[in-house]
């Protein structure tokens, strides 16, 4: 990988991470902090978009370097496993086991399904 592309992917990840802070804060002020719905929205929407971008790249409808910048960089930095996992463990520590299960397994099922939808949409275009 050439250095310029590497830097572009990394910086796109920075933009994704800042977008995550912004969107999560926006959701928190609207919904409140009882259930960490912001991270769920971020991870499921990011998974849908990555499925779509990956499908486009597999069908050669998107150049590989754009797939890296948008997929590995922007969407990789936008979505996060560590915060989702932390919020799940905190819910379990508060004995909110149903909420912890929804945040752990529910988010995973929703994100994988969303990725599948994204892939299917891109394959339909090819």
């Amino acid at each position: 990988m050439n250095p310029l592309l590497f830097v572009a992917v990394a910086a796109a990840g920075g933009v994704g991470a800042a977008s995550r802070l912004f969107l999560d804060g926006l959701v928190r002020t609207r919904v409140g902090g009882g259930f960490p719905v912001g991270t769920t929205i971020i991870n499921v929407s990011g998974s849908l978009l990555l499925g779509f971008v990956t499908g486009l790249a597999m069908n050669h409808l998107l150049a590989p370097q754009w797939s890296l910048v948008i997929g590995v960089g922007l969407l990789g930095g936008y979505t996060t496993l560590s915060t989702a996992s932390f919020e799940t463990v905190r819910l379990a520590q508060l004995r909110r086991y149903g909420a912890a299960l929804a945040n752990g397994i529910g988010m995973l099922v929703a994100a994988v399904a969303a990725s599948g939808v994204g892939l299917a949409l891109a394959f339909a275009l090819g």
Binding site: M1, F6, V9, A10, A11, A12, G13, G14, V15, G16, A17, A18, R20, L21, F22, G25, L26, R28, T29, G33, P36, N43, G46, S47, L49, L50, T54, G71, V72, G73, L75, G76, G77, Y78, T79, T80, L81, S82, T83, A84, S85, F86, E87, T88, V89, R90, A92, Q93, L94, G104, I105, M107, L108, A111, V112, A113, A114, S115, G116, L119
Partner: protein, 154 residues
Amino acid sequence: MPRAVHLRWRYLGLVFIGGTVGTGLREGLTLMLPPITLDAGARLPLTTMAINLIGALLLGLLLEALVRRGLDVGRRRTVRLLLGTGALGGFTTYSALATDSALLVHSGAVGAALAYALGTVLLGGLATWLGIVMGAALHRRTQGGTASAAGENA
């Protein structure tokens, strides 16, 4: 009243810098240790899994250590946004976990998809918990304090 964290350029900038470094590290590691290709042509991204587990442990450690030191203000907030939300948030990823799992299902490797996806989330929870315990122990060793951090959020 001060503006909310997510509306301040300084904080968005800290997360951008951290996220750039975290994403660069994830990308570098993935380039050095590419995913394993299965018979069906699907990829088993063990590097992504390791990145997510290490990041989960470190975030648990960081946030627990920070919350035990005091309120989320000043230097503690700077460290949380730069290293936690930014670097570790950008280092770990959920979209790749979901898409690689969906691709494994698509290629017929349903067992591998389940093991990869559930394995990451369950071991990720364990790693986070371990990190929190380590963060608490670290705080006790350096401060001798026992303040509870329950209820605080990232």
